[in-house]
């Protein structure tokens, strides 16, 4: 994944001189998670800009530069740090095109890794995609595979809208095939990771992998044939694909690492009951991170993150007494 994201950055920087990278330790240090490794050598200090630790100003500088015609790719070291830039992200980046009636565009991307699993505790490992998904005026991407990471990042950089690009800290080492052609994929197109007819499982970011693991267990041990969908972007959301699946399986489980209240799953459950109520044979199940700040202790941290077993039991709850 790390290399796929780096390739996306490098390829877009080679093809468009207005694209540049800006963030804390993205240059000399090569990136806190090494995503920008080598970019400084190839593109120099003008286009790979190390910044002071000033998140709101880093994002705001990106917004201003984008208004001035450039295409900044801002890196924030973690999603938690993006809270220091919430003003620039929501009051400025997302609002400017609308509040000035299209006189200014803000073609920029903010990359930010989040998620638990590395024992980074309550200020470095949260999942905020649900918060960003709520904000009109920007797009939100959550890639789970190297191929998607590369193709979505390229699409994000080329798009004229501001994009929040959420990465997962534990997915940087994930391996996977990346198409040679280097083409972007469109936002708003979900990926069906596994086809099945009994229950739809929607998994976001790393939870897409967890959903796939759960689907294997469901098939092998419970004769339940799950369809796994990775939405890949939350704004725009490919609701069509999810609806078509739910109309087929009549059951749905949504898996995310973020908090339960007002989460991605809460939103999706509302949409599905509005638009596929008559197709549902069971209540929609949500599997989410625990409703606590992320604890440090490995044992507690792991207990706060959804695992395949949770997804399996949620899926079985939707199929109880009706499948096989």
């Amino acid at each position: 994944m790390r290399e796929a994201l780096r390739d996306a950055l490098a390829e877009e920087m080679r093809s468009d001189g207005d694209v540049f990278v800006i963030g804390e330790d993205v240059g000399v240090f090569q990136g806190a998670f090494k995503v920008t490794e080598g970019l400084l050598d190839e593109f120099g200090e003008k286009r790979v800009r190390d910044t002071p630790i000033s998140e709101n100003t880093i994002v705001g500088t990106g917004v201003g530069a984008a208004m001035g015609g450039l295409r900044p790719v801002v890196e924030l070291m973690t999603v938690n740090f993006s809270l220091l830039a919430f003003d620039q992200i929501i009051n400025h980046m997302a609002a400017i095109p609308y509040m000035f009636a299209g006189q200014a565009r803000v073609p920029m991307v903010i990359r930010m890794p989040g998620g638990g699993g590395h024992q980074l505790g309550p200020t470095h490992s949260h999942s905020f995609e649900a918060m960003y998904l709520q904000v009109p005026g920007m797009l939100v991407a959550c890639p789970s595979t190297p191929a998607d990471g590369k193709a979505l990042l390229k699409a994000a950089i080329r798009d004229d809208n501001p994009v929040v690009f959420v990465e997962h800290e534990t997915l940087y080492g994930v391996r996977g095939d990346v198409p040679e052609n280097g083409e972007p994929i469109r936002f708003g197109e979900a990926a069906i990771r596994r086809e099945g007819g009994d229950v739809t499982i929607v998994g976001v970011l790393r939870m897409a992998h967890v959903a796939e693991q759960a689907a294997k267990t469901l098939a092998n041990e419970h004769s339940v044939d799950a369809e796994v969908i990775d939405p890949r972007t939350l704004r725009p959301l490919d609701l069509d694909t999810i609806l078509a699946s739910v109309r087929k399986t009549n059951r749905c489980v949504v898996v995310e690492e973020g908090w339960p209240h007002g989460g991605v799953g809460a939103n999706l459950a509302a949409l599905l009951q509005e638009q596929a109520f008559d197709h549902l044979d069971a209540p929609i199940q949500r599997v989410t991170g625990a409703d606590v700040p992320m604890p440090y202790s490995k044992r507690l941290e792991q207990s706060a993150i959804p695992h395949p077993e949770h997804v399996v039991s949620a899926a079985l709850a939707t199929t109880e007494g009706t499948v096989n």
Binding site: G60, T61, A65, H92, P97, A101, N161, N267
Partner: protein, 415 residues
């Protein structure tokens, strides 16, 4: 509560000693400066009046008293330089050449406003004149200025960004962050601090440990000077030199303009925090009266010309009000316009709106069907998906009527 220390022009030490005002430039420029200031004054007075008549809504922050700071600054700028300001920027747009009609229409929330009625008084914008916006978040425009300056630098252009903000903004995190970044990267930006002695109702010595704002960013690498913000020529001269420093030497600097707003922070300000005598003292140094008197005294222009100029300004503002009044309210089905730049990924606003799986047309191709207008209006801001059951808004915003004089909900308008 203890009364504030009386702050009068005499009590203010500008740059250590009283500097004489610069020599008068040529008469045409003098007339131009005077007319711009007079236009802002008259526009702001009228905006206040229209606000009282409820033609303009929300908050209204007037810059009456601050005209020399505004016009002196913009007079030193090139057309291709960027200007970015605060929520008190009707005058800044006018000084850059934006038509008063369009600013007034924005205050009225009409389609011909600078932001088509989406921004309001606090969010004036004019891309054509490189007025890059008024912003409602105190200090929020500072990083944007750094970004605009970075864009100029990146492209190898010699344009300069002038960033105007108030004394209150110097206490925000953005101030320290942006000063440091601008100095570190040697960005071509001039920070222009409009010190009107109050952050809303809190006087400078009650909100800032350092009240010599010209030095407040020194430790972050941005040196500064104080200038007499009531003297348009002093402002023009000082800002011109600092723009030169930014343009030619890539040295970001701060100009602290001593100025004063005669009216409250906003139209909703009872002004319990300052003495009437203080306001009167400052009014005696009125930037427009003082300049006009000097022009006549020194023979640069005749008193007749001053009178004619005032009549011209009067008419322009009257025309602006008439124009704004005649400008239509935004169409209801334009609610989602400009939310996204439409293209392959975002073909229409519904494409990022999960409430329906059906593809919807974007603003460019949308059919203006009555049914759609009706549906949107009925739903208010919360269109409830495909279900025919919708929540009606509890109260209809005033002025939203269809041709039959009925509100779009089909109920009688409460007005």
């Amino acid at each position: 509560m203890a009364k504030e220390t009386l702050k009068t022009p005499e009590a203010i030490d500008v740059d250590g000693e009283a500097k004489p005002s610069p020599e008068l430039p040529d008469a045409d420029l003098c007339r131009e400066l005077l007319e711009r200031m007079a236009l802002i004054r008259r526009f702001e007075e009228e905006a206040g009046r229209q606000y009282q008549r409820a033609k303009a809504g929300g908050f209204l922050h007037l810059a009456i008293g601050e005209e020399a700071t505004i016009v002196g600054t913009t007079a030193a700028m090139r057309d291709d330089d960027y200007l970015i300001g605060t929520y008190r920027t009707h005058g800044h747009a006018l000084a850059r050449g934006t038509a008063p009609e369009r600013v007034m229409a924005e205050l009225f929330g009409r389609v011909d406003g600078t932001s088509g009625g989406r921004g309001g008084s606090m969010h004036i914008f004019d891309a054509d004149r490189r007025f890059m916006g008024g912003y409602g978040i105190v200090g929020g425009n500072l990083p944007l200025a750094a970004g605009l300056a970075l864009a100029s630098d990146y492209r190898g252009e010699d344009t300069v960004t002038v960033c105007m903000f108030g004394d209150g903004a110097s206490n925000t995190g953005n101030f320290g962050e942006t000063m440091n970044l601008a100095a570190l990267w040697r960005l071509p930006v001039v920070f222009l601090l409009e010190n009107n002695l109050y952050g809303m109702g809190t006087s400078v010595e009650r909100h800032s440990a350092v009240t010599d704002f010209s030095r407040k960013a020194e430790g972050m690498g941005v040196p500064g000077v104080r200038a007499d913000g009531m003297d348009v020529l002093a402002m023009r001269e000082t800002v011109a030199e600092h723009i030169r420093l930014a343009r030619e030497e890539r040295q970001p600097t701060m100009v602290e303009a001593f100025t004063y707003r005669y009216h409250g922070h906003s139209a909703a300000d009872p002004e319990v925090y300052r003495e009437k005598e203080e306001v009167e003292e400052w009014r005696r140094r009125d930037p427009i009266e003082t300049f006009a008197r000097r022009l006549v005294d020194e023979g640069a222009i005749e008193q007749d010309e001053v009178d004619e100029l005032r009549q011209r300004v009067e008419k322009r503002v009257k025309d602006a009000v008439e124009f704004a009044d005649a400008s239509p309210e935004p169409e209801l089905d334009s609610l989602y316009d400009h939310l996204y730049v439409l293209g392959d990924q975002v073909p229409g606003w519904y494409a990022v709106d999960e409430r329906t799986p059906e593809p919807h047309p974007g603003e460019d191709e949308r059919e203006h069907s009555r049914g759609e207008v009706q549906r949107l209006a009925e739903a208010g801001a919360a269109y409830g998906g495909q279900s025919p059951v919708r929540t009606k808004p509890t109260s209809e915003p005033s002025g939203v009527e269809d041709e039959d004089g009925e509100s779009p909900t089909g109920e009688e308008n409460g007005e």
